[in-house]
């Protein structure tokens, strides 16, 4: 049994595997299948200041090797999260990353401030949701705005702050450097890629929102490339995600420079995916006689 524990900006994880925000709700539905303490952490459903009803259905479409979603940040609001969801999650032995979002930098800061008095371990600031008209991706596609929202949230919280980046940009390294300079303790990437499908029988987009975020195995090589570029551009840790569906994928993303790995769409195909990936990670390390998962982080030898 290899040592799977990692440390991301001062927070200890028993293993580096974390269900990504949005696929896992607040954990209750999957606890029916496996104990949550098998996971390194959980990134909770993106939560805003007030309740959001989200977009009109259909919100889901299949794509070759993946899917599109346009949920639109449906969530019960931060107060409900703090009162009714967080206490339950805090009794589980895993790292809780509270994923937060907002329509304005001030709203993001207010949400972060509300979490200050809780025991939540980390804040993951979503500046990259492609499914909301205001805020969301707008913050994540512009260096100045990304820095501004990071700075305001940084002021509002003493918790370790992870900023989740959008891949729908010309240069993700520039955004990563901007949020690092503004006080982020880590970055996580990649959020979904903006995509679209059309039903050729009706001429209508499959998603009622017309466009949505693409995820799943098809986006994995883009995630590897972006994690590698960002890991080489910043000094803060990188949490990698995007199409990871096996232990081998997790290893690959860690070799590219990720200190921990989030698992998203793979959970829809195999609800046990995060637990299986932890086991596969261990098997790989044992088969190579590698004592600790930390020994593989950022070890890719570029040509």
């Amino acid at each position: 049994m290899a040592d799977l524990s990692v440390n991301v900006c001062g927070v200890d994880f028993k293993n580096p595997i974390i269900p990504a925000s949005g696929v896992f709700g607040y954990g209750r539905e999957y606890e029916e299948l496996f104990p949550l303490n098998k996971l390194g952490g959980i990134a909770t459903k993106g939560t805003t200041l007030h309740l959001r009803t989200g977009n009109i259905a259909p919100r889901i479409a299949e794509t070759p090797g993946g899917m599109l979603n346009s949920v639109g940040l449906q969530n019960p609001g931060i107060d409900h999260f703090i009162e009714s969801e967080l206490p339950y999650l805090m009794t589980k032995d895993l790292v809780v990353l509270a994923n937060i979002a907002g329509s304005t930098p001030e709203e993001c800061a207010e949400v972060a401030a509300k979490l200050e008095s809780t025991d939540v371990h980390m804040i993951e600031l979503n500046i990259s949701c492609p499914n909301v008209k205001q805020g969301g991706a707008a913050f994540g596609t512009n260096c100045d705005m990304a820095a501004e929202v990071t700075r305001l949230v940084r002021k509002a919280t003493t918790k370790p702050l992870v900023v989740k980046l959008s891949p729908n940009v010309t240069s993700i390294t520039e955004i990563a450097k901007a949020v690092e300079a503004a006080g982020a303790d880590a970055v996580s990437l990649i959020n979904t890629l903006l995509g679209m499908r059309i039903d050729i029988n009706t001429g209508r987009p499959v998603l009622h929102n017309n466009v949505g975020g693409m995820s799943g195995p098809a986006v994995f090589p883009i995630a590897v490339r972006m994690v590698w570029q960002v890991a080489n551009a910043v000094k803060i840790p990188v949490i990698g995600m995007g199409g990871v569906s096996s232990g081998r994928d997790a290893i690959e993303l860690m070799m590219a420079g990720a200190s921990a790995v989030q698992v998203g769409a793979a959970i829809f195909t195999d609800p046990y995916a995060p637990v299986r990936i932890v086991e596969e990670l261990n098997e790989f390390l044992d088969s190579k006689n590698i004592g600790s998962v930390n020994e593989i982080i950022g070890t890719v030898k570029p040509w």
């Binding site: 029916e32 977009n55 259905a57 299949e62």
Partner: protein
């Protein structure tokens, strides 16, 4: 809610109409807790998203479930390739099913096309207290009529083109029955326009009605919030989720 995920043996496969298949699956633990109106979430090899398929039969003694599904696209075509003896990967049983009350003396079950299969477990429970009205495009699309008759329920068949049974939609014979009165409950599954019409009629006449909805779905268990459906609860609009809050809703809850 108690669900599991696993691979289960297909013990019987039959093609019951063009592009419509019936699988019997040995899954005692799932069958033991399954109820009418629930669904199973099936993995299609090579696809990211599972396919939700309603339960058409529950045999708790034999420990089997029956599903009947239509090949609608690439995913269901992949599932249809499975044969007797193969393993099928299911996350099941899922969702909130129909409210069954055996004290009812007269119920109407309405199935439109591939919405017919979830009516069969109800017909089995209600037997001769049930009238099952089903509608199909044409005679070649008709399914499950013998199964319905075997339950003791009365079967009323409609086709859009009149090639079998009554020439017309299910709402025709249903309206006539509703006029006569004495109906304790209506259960329906099928295309949206049909469900909308049935719901309206029941609400107008004050008949208890439950409908089973369909939506594009990802997780199947209420975590991802993909399958949203506009509903009304204590006069407040509420985005429910078909997989967990449904697929069965009270007619008056759904905002069309």
């Amino acid at each position: 809610m108690k669900y599991t995920q696993g691979k289960f043996i297909i013990t019987e496969k039959t093609a019951i109409a063009r592009e419509i298949y019936s699988f019997t699956i040995s899954c005692p633990d799932v069958a033991a807790v399954a109820s009418p109106g629930q669904f199973v979430h099936i993995r299609a090899n090579g696809f990211t998203l599972r396919r939700p398929i309603s339960i058409c039969g529950i045999d708790k003694e034999k420990g089997t479930l029956r599903i009947v599904f239509e090949v609608r696209g690439e995913g269901t075509a992949e599932i249809a390739k499975l044969n007797k003896g193969d393993l099928i990967d299911m996350l099941a049983p899922l969702g909130h099913g129909f409210t069954v009350d055996e004290s009812y003396s007269k119920v109407i079950l309405i199935g439109g096309g591939i919405g017919t299969p979830p009516m069969l477990p109800l017909a089995k429970i209600y037997g001769n207290k049930a009238t099952v009205i089903t509608g199909f495009r044409n005679a070649s699309a008709v399914i499950l009529q013998d199964d319905i008759k075997k339950t003791g329920a009365e079967a009323v068949l409609c086709t859009d083109d009149g090639s079998a049974g009554i020439h017309g939609f299910v709402t025709q014979p249903f309206t006539e029955l509703a006029e006569k009165g004495g109906i304790d409950a209506v259960y329906a599954c099928g295309p949206s326009p049909m469900l909308k019409a049935v719901s309206k009629l029941c609400i107008d006449k004050g008949i208890r009605c439950e409908i089973s909805l369909e939506e594009r779905m990802a997780c199947g268990i209420g975590a991802c919030l993909g399958c949203a459906c506009r509903t009304k609860r204590s006069d407040e609009e509420y985005f429910a989720h078909v997989c967990k809050d449904g697929p069965v809703f009270k007619a008056e809850e759904v905002l069309w």
